[in-house]
Assembly symmetry: C2
DNA sequence: TTGTAGGCGTTATCAA
DNA sequence: TTGATAACGCCTACAA
């Protein structure tokens, strides 16, 4: 294997080859204006020939660039893997990150593990320079933690009280739209199905939903998805009361409901209309295809990166709202069944 | 919040607090045996109180630990996002990586971008210490590239000629099993549906498939999935000839076929049996549920990490085969239709 | 068992 | 416009 790692090429080698001092090379590669165009060109050529690039670790040590974003996802492999949202998030993160030259450091921790420890570690090691917080819960200890550490951080989701900046997808008119759509189809009672109850955005959404329903004369209920139940779909459907339509926080759950409902005797959309609060390709491979809200995940990712970049530079950054949630009407919503009318 | 970022705490601070020299601290944190248990405890206590951890960048500069694995995925956001395999891969990677204290640096590049450039950059910057190669194609330029760079690398998928180590999921008996299963159901002609034609494992699989079919008196065909077609499913089904069963490389494609086939007049599994070569939760939310091969993705990920770790330490590592692909019979396979029997 | 000194590759400061 | 020189925070000989 011909000893490939003879010696790593350094800035000194480039300097020697260009007949200048290391600092000149540094200047050129950091866009400082005090180098003549001629020598700059010579330096760049030398670097190219040697295929040299500034060592990231060294830059970090000497205070320079080389930033990296930490994303810690506290989910089991299973619940991570079955949420297409994360694919979109990751994909959306990489592009703006690449533009900045930042790395993305990703890890999963099991929900029962001590994730705070990990934040401490990554920050302490200076492995990352900022955190993106997802799945933020009410009273999430990470909020105080990043504050205490002094780590730049932003959360994706509903804003929470406190100084941690947030990037929110503007739900402004979404519930109104959804309820409007359903009311137009004759539904008089709608249940909102929440996935993980503790999440910070749940309460805000509940309120919006209730408000939207109220002003349209639609009855609003809320039910929690119980994944621990023997047959979660049957369990949920059994708790629906008079509702003829549901709005489901999680797309995965919506897909499961739509797929499984017929097998427990409920036809979608004939007997039950279903709207998913998130959208991905999954919505189109279940039958009936899911009527869903397409959220601007990629844009949120970009906004979050931009926000964190500002924070890292020491500027302070205001909370961001990204708008663009739009209802994609597909096949899982239909006129309300008449036969439910008499039901108490 | 009491000025948190006054000054980053360093090894010197810890040393001072413990009343020792910096090197003593270093020794303790690098597991060297030349420190008495008493002072080691004192040092650890001091580090704890100061909440200090060795700066990763500094360790890297001074040749120490702090490794990081590079994963560059050359896919569009869309094709990345709709492949559950990557979720499993990422999830599977994080655990062994965390055990080693390695970071995972992830990025997506568009297929038309110069991905080699990125490998060069990451390696040159020493942003990563090893690469994991996925979606390896015949004659993949990255193989020569990592060799030239002297970068430790391993590929996930079929072994390729050359010195780059590979982690392969042993397909040994998988095709035999699949064909056996289908032959047992009366199928006499089976088509293998390939996703991306250039991938390195395609040819190997083709051969295995043909062989397995031959020895069981089943006719073997191969057809490529044409995602550019107006209606890819209809297009594919139109090219199936006598085949009453298909084995589909990509789970996503299989899901799409199963979902869409009835809409173009083909009932699954009555008229067509479908087997997916990969498995994830998606297999269970389409109807009929997909009969699929469950591949040990997490184990492969772990094997790849272990292999790369050895490579980085300078040991050389043999190609690995991870076994455990097993057929999960669900609802998308059924007895072959009779009406096809008369056909020669 | 502990501490000192030098080096890792880069950036920043300041003099030439 | 350039180039010494001193950090940056840690690790590893080697000396005490």
């Amino acid at each position: 294997m011909s000893e490939p790692s003879t010696k790593r090429v350094t800035i000194a080698a480039v300097a020697r080859r260009a007949g200048v001092s290391p600092s000149a090379v540094s200047h050129v590669f950091n866009g400082r204006p005090n180098v003549s165009e001629a020598t700059a060109a010579r330096i760049r050529a030398a670097a190219d020939e040697l295929n040299w690039r500034p060592n990231l670790a060294s830059r970090k040590v000497s205070g320079g660039g080389g930033r990296s974003l930490g994303l810690v996802i506290a989910r089991s492999r299973g619940t991570f893997g079955r949420d297409p949202f994360f694919m979109r998030l990751l994909a959306g993160l990489t592009e703006p990150l690449a533009e900045l030259g930042w790395s993305l450091s990703l890890t999963l921790v099991r929900p029962d593990e001590d994730e705070e420890q990990l934040y401490r570690q990554w920050w302490g090691e200076q492995r990352v320079d900022a955190f993106l917080l997802v799945d933020v819960r009410d009273d999430d200890p990470r909020l105080a933690l990043v504050e205490q550490l002094g780590a730049p951080a932003a959360l994706l989701g509903a804003p929470v009280p406190g100084p941690v900046a947030s990037v929110t997808v503007g739900d402004g008119t979404a519930f109104a739209e959804a309820v409007e759509h359903l009311a137009g189809l004759g539904h008089r009672s709608v249940t909102r199905v929440t996935d993980a109850p503790g999440l910070a955005h749940t309460r805000a959404r509940d309120e919006r939903f209730r408000e939207a329903a109220l002003t349209r004369g639609v009855r609003a209920e809320v039910a929690a998805w119980d994944k621990a139940a023997d047959d979660p779909v049957a369990d949920l459907l059994g708790r629906l009361g008079e509702s003829t339509a549901i709005i489901v926080d999680s797309e995965t759950v919506a897909a499961e409901i739509v797929a499984h409902a017929p097998e427990v005797g409920v036809r979608v959309p004939d007997q039950l209309s279903v709207i998913a609060w998130e959208d991905s390709w999954v919505s189109t491979i279940v039958r009936p295809r899911l009527t869903a809200f397409d959220a601007p995940v990629e844009e949120s990712a970009r906004a979050a990166v931009a926000l964190l970049e500002r924070l890292v530079r020491g500027e302070d950054a205001a909370p961001q709202t990204v708008s663009g949630r739009r209802l994609l009407v597909r096949e899982s919503t239909a006129p309300a069944p008449n036969n439910r009318e008499e039901s108490p």
